[in-house]
């Protein structure tokens, strides 16, 4: 563990699992004892060098870490073309799309399945939106020989067909969820219902830095490998730290994984990018920009909701960002002002997707395409010698059908 200063941004949550007023443990009583067990087990695992050794070993030899840090020179040059004189920051990517299974999600799944095994659980459940977390969970379940049930909204089952088939190949059972808008929020409700009914043998691998304490903390810790590596790699390559970190936010796990190790570096600015869908005045998934604090899925955080506290349906072209809430640590980081948050529409993300394909030969997932779209706007406001580091948290193979459809191409 790194040293923590008293006024550090890195010593959340408190012992009750709160990040300022956010976070907490808002679950049905049936789950409370289990959540308390998990907290205890995680605390013990953190202190156990054998746990960390196994985690690191799997990250290196199974996931393929460290992921590269890549200087995107052609994208940098492209954006400089319409930047004012002397402007146009250097753009770098942390390439977590090169991980086994194609996204950052696997980092967290490795950590959680090791915890599940430590706790003697014999059955794994998960929710998934884009299917990346579902694939990553199915992958680690295959790797450790545990049965896996993945809850996925029916809408997402349809728009992420390749991932559904992948999960099946990996031996997982997929349960399409039809309640509500049949997307990620509804999948999470259904996973919680399964969990309540199977507490004795089941471990719920939550896919983002949200849910009841200790999930936001442990997911963050497992994903922080992204930021720790990036910090070291950047210092080694450039002798300095980046000026701005950028990451897309669904629940916020890839973003907090990148940001957290830099939170106490005062010169490093951070930008979280939410999905503005059709626009902030229409249907979107930007809970910080358009939501209010509330309670859902075990934590207090910003939620898209009406004046009666009914949860709104989110919309994003990116299934992985299509969620009406956000991890509680981001809610807190927004309120403290440490991290800036912005949002990007479906159309802007689609253009950024194509831009990266053509300038760098990298097909990004639609989720990090939101981060890239934010960079397009920011880079030209920053000096040429400044550095933007973005998390390229997933590859776009899963999205080519969605993108073709949006571009009016028949496949």
């Amino acid at each position: 563990m790194t040293e923590q200063k008293p006024n550090s941004f890195r010593n959340q949550p408190d012992e009750r699992g709160h990040f300022g007023q956010f976070g907490g443990r808002y679950v049905a009583e049936t789950l409370m004892p289990l959540i308390l067990d998990l907290e205890q087990e995680y605390t013990a695992a953190k202190k156990d060098p054998a746990f960390d050794a196994q985690f690191q070993d799997l990250l290196e030899h199974y996931v393929g870490r460290p992921s590269p840090l890549y200087h995107a020179e052609r994208l940098t040059e492209e954006l400089r073309k319409d930047a004012p004189e002397g402007k146009g920051a250097e753009i770098w990517f942390k390439r977590d799309e090169l991980n086994h299974t194609g996204a950052h999600k696997i980092n967290n799944c490795i950590g959680q399945i090791l915890l599940a095994i430590r706790m003697g659980k014999t059955r794994i459940i998960a929710e998934t939106g884009a299917g990346q977390h579902g694939v990553a969970t199915a992958t680690v379940c295959a790797r450790f020989g545990l049965p896996c049930v993945v809850y996925m909204g029916k809408t997402d089952v349809e728009r992420q067909a390749p991932n559904v088939f992948r999960m099946k190949l990996l031996g997982a059972e997929i349960v399409p969820v039809t309640s509500g808008a049949a997307t990620l929020k509804d999948a999470m409700n259904e996973a919680l219902r399964d969990w309540v009914a199977n507490v004795h043998d089941t471990f719920y691998i939550i896919g983002t830095a949200a849910g009841p304490h200790p999930y936001p903390e442990l997911v963050r810790d497992f994903q922080s490998v992204i930021g720790k590596e990036a910090r070291e790699q950047m210092q080694k390559r450039t002798g300095r730290l980046p000026d701005l970190l950028v990451a897309a936010i669904g629940g916020g796990s890839n973003a907090i994984g990148l940001f957290h190790p830099f939170l106490d570096d005062p010169d490093v600015n951070m930008l979280g990018v939410e999905a503005a869908g059709h626009g902030l005045d229409k249907k979107h998934a930007a809970s910080l920009a358009g939501g209010f604090p509330g309670i859902l899925h075990g934590n207090k955080t910003y939620l898209l909701q009406d004046e009666d506290g009914q949860i709104a349906e989110a919309h994003s072209i990116s299934a992985g960002l299509d969620y009406p809430g956000i991890g509680p640590e981001h809610a807190w980081l927004k309120e403290t002002g440490r991290v800036e948050y912005t949002s990007v529409t479906d159309d802007e993300a689609l253009s950024a997707f194509q831009l990266l394909c053509r300038t760098e030969g990298i097909i990004p997932a639609l989720e990090p395409s939101h981060a890239i779209a934010a960079i397009v706007k920011r880079a030209k406001e920053m000096d040429r010698d400044q550095i933007i580091l973005a998390n390229l948290c997933g590859r776009g193979d899963k999205d080519i059908f969605t993108v073709a459809d949006a571009l009016g191409v028949e496949m």
Binding site: G24, A28, E29, T30, P33, R193, A197, V199, I295, G309
Partner: protein
Amino acid sequence: MTRFQSAFKPDRAALVCFITAGDGDTAANLDALVEGGADVIELGMPFTDPMADGPAIQKANLRSLAKGTKTADVLAMAKAFRERHPDIPLVLMGYANPMVRRGPEWFADRLEEVGADGVICVDLAPEEDPDLGPALRAKGISPIRLATPTTDDKRLPKVLEGSSGFLYYVSVAGITGKQQAAIDSIEANVTRIKKQTDLPIAVGFGVRTPQQAEAIAKVADGVVVGSAFIDIVGEHGENAPQHLRELTASLAKAVHNARKG
């Protein structure tokens, strides 16, 4: 004497009936439950994401919201109920977000105004009591907590602390609906919990028939029935009251007479 104290009598168990507000003709449905012999009413506040509920109550929540039920409507239904039935304890049951949306004090003030007696907030663990509990207690409204098969003796004091009215023992680790617990396990758990509290214990989840209700009424202070009523409302819509009255009457008879002979 509070309404809860009159409802939970020492010599016979009480029948606690749950329906979702705004699903069907709520006033008529509630009257039917009372006419049938309900001792306590739990009125469900609809929520978009009822994650501790099974398909029947999920659908009831969505049917109610689809009809446009607002928090103000639920409160108006509660108020009208209190005016028609001054003596029956009324509990609002639901999820935290709609309850705290305008602040806990706002909610507690409204409950006091409408004459509600208690609140069951499914996803507000005792650990998060500050979000609602103090505001309710300040207005004399009972926070009613849930204990479950996973709530062991060590944890029970946490659940009991700051709660009043009665304790709701959820007999199965699961969601609302059709599964039911074995009576032996219910009896053992009620006995276990009784060692730590004088609050009446009402047992629910999966209770649908007079036979089940009778067995529970022999070992607990109250029997909670929900999904069975919700199914009737779902099936019969506006014609539900007559069917609700019949089921309630048979349940009430079973519950009230369970300990005689």
